[in-house]
């Protein structure tokens, strides 16, 4: 399992594009927002938590179609399926690798981009906490979507269509935590809901992803 994780991480870092792409997209979205809504700092600080969450979500979405497609193309997915490792753990490792290479950098970059959008000071802590808790769910859900569309020639658009509705609860609760944190309201309820969604998806969704992958590899 660790070998697989290291392999995926190495591939993501070395194979060019995959690793930096999400971060660059996140940066560009954040930079473009003030151009489209105007530079008033009061407006920017109101929408900052939501924009940062949406940016992180889209950046995450952008990297999903590379999650399993490359392994599918060169046949290593078939090898992994016949390996003694259960497919459920393969899928979980894939999601973990995706989170380490996409989700975690986004979490780390978010506070710096928050400065650009004039995020209120108490918001920084809650933004990082909510993203830290929410992004694993996005990786796991994204892995399910990638497993659904892995055999398709042009699965990218379909992948977005399938995954975006599944992201709705995570986005709602995550952005709610960040928004409430930024305005100094209590954040416990949405934070617990967000953590619950993340825990439940990590626990249950790999089984669905593995089932779907088995169907696709049949």
């Amino acid at each position: 399992m660790i070998a697989l994780l290291l392999r995926d991480l190495k591939l993501a870092f070395r194979a060019g594009g995959g690793f930096g792409l999400g971060l660059a997209f996140f940066l560009i979205v954040t930079v473009l927002v003030p151009f489209s809504v105007g530079p008033q700092s009061s407006l920017l600080s109101t929408i900052a938590p939501g924009v940062l969450w949406l940016g992180a979500l889209l950046a995450c979405l952008l990297s999903l179609d590379r999650l399993l497609a490359l392994d599918w193309e060169d046949g290593s997915l078939d090898l992994l399926a016949t390996a003694p490792l259960p497919l459920e753990s393969v899928v979980t490792i894939k999601a973990l690798a995706h989170w380490l290479t996409t989700g975690l950098p986004l979490v780390l970059a978010a506070p710096f981009l928050g400065v650009l959008l004039n995020l209120p000071v108490p918001g920084f802590f809650w933004l990082v906490v909510s993203l830290l808790i929410g992004t694993p769910a996005m990786s796991v859900i994204g892995t399910f979507g990638a497993a659904l569309t892995v055999g398709l020639k042009r699965g990218g658009l379909l992948l977005s269509l399938l995954v975006l509705p599944l992201y709705v609860p995570t986005l709602i609760f995550g952005a709610e935590v960040a928004r409430r944190g930024a305005t100094g309201m209590e954040t416990q309820t949405p934070l617990l809901m967000l953590a619950g969604i993340t825990a439940a998806t990590i626990a249950l969704l790999p089984f669905a992803s593995a089932a779907v992958l088995r169907i696709n590899l049949r």
Partner: protein, 257 residues
């Protein structure tokens, strides 16, 4: 016949030939009775009920709005049930019924959204508000779109049936989750939503909100929409079965020829 035997008898309709024969026999009944219910319900509702003292004649859009919204949700539940049957018992008719129902569900969702917008324009002063109910329906619409798109994208019919069934199961969980998330989200945004909802005569609180004058034609319309839905799904399932037969025949011809 005992209950178990009856339950066993139900599985006989997994045989496409038997399903087609029976559905063709009962379909005229469903078409005629749904048409009768809807026509009587609509005429009764549109012309023989008084205008609401506050909403005027716009209240009458509920005769289309409520049944369509009800069927939009029930259609997804039906797809969930047939998907489960396909995954557990591998009956092709079941998977095809789920496939046949999805576009009907999309149309019902669109009718509900469109009639809601047409009603909302004069009543709320806006075509669209991010009210929890409205938002949930928009999300349901997205789920339907993804489901249908996945069916269309995959060539092999059995793989497509498997994948869409799993998507339907996972999607159901997330749809319910979204419903609660959206409720939470809008309360967090603005408290005014409850006032808006008290004015909107929709959903589960109909009995308390709608007076009996409006309720009986509405009930008739709902029954009509249920029957119409059954008729449409039977019809479309029959078409799917035949389309697959044609494909099988063509394949056989190619092998022999």
């Amino acid at each position: 016949m005992s209950i178990a035997a009856k339950a066993n008898a139900l599985w006989e309709y997994a045989n496409p030939r038997k399903f087609l024969a029976t559905s063709e026999r009962v379909m005229p009944f469903f078409w005629v009775s749904s048409l009768a219910c809807i026509v009587v319900g609509l005429v009764w509702g549109f012309f023989f009920t008084p205008d609401d003292y506050k909403q005027g004649s716009t209240v009458k859009i509920i005769y289309l709005h409520v049944p369509a919204a009800l069927m939009a949700i029930n259609c997804w539940l039906m797809m969930l049930a047939t998907s489960l049957v396909w995954l557990v018992r591998r009956h092709h008719v079941s998977a095809l019924a789920a496939r046949a129902a999805a576009p009907v569900g999309i149309v019902m969702t669109l009718i509900a959204l469109a009639t809601g917008a047409i009603w909302g324009q004069p009543m709320w002063g806006t075509w669209w508000a991010w009210d929890p109910r409205l938002t949930s329906f928009l999300i349901l619409f997205l789920f339907y779109l993804g489901y249908v798109a996945l069916w269309e994208a995959i060539e092999d019919p059995d793989t497509a049936a498997d994948l869409t069934s799993v998507l339907c199961l996972v999607g159901s969980v997330f749809a319910i989750l979204s419903r609660y998330a959206v409720n939470f989200w809008n309360q967090g945004l603005h408290q005014g939503a409850s006032v808006m909802r008290a004015a909107a005569v929709t959903g589960a609180d109909t009995e308390e909100k709608v007076s009996n004058i409006y309720f009986y034609p509405l009930l008739l319309c709902i029954i009509g929409f249920v029957l119409l839905f059954i008729a449409l799904v039977l019809y479309r399932t029959g078409t799917e079965i035949r389309a697959r037969r044609v494909k099988a025949l063509l394949a056989r011809e190619r092998v022999n020829g």
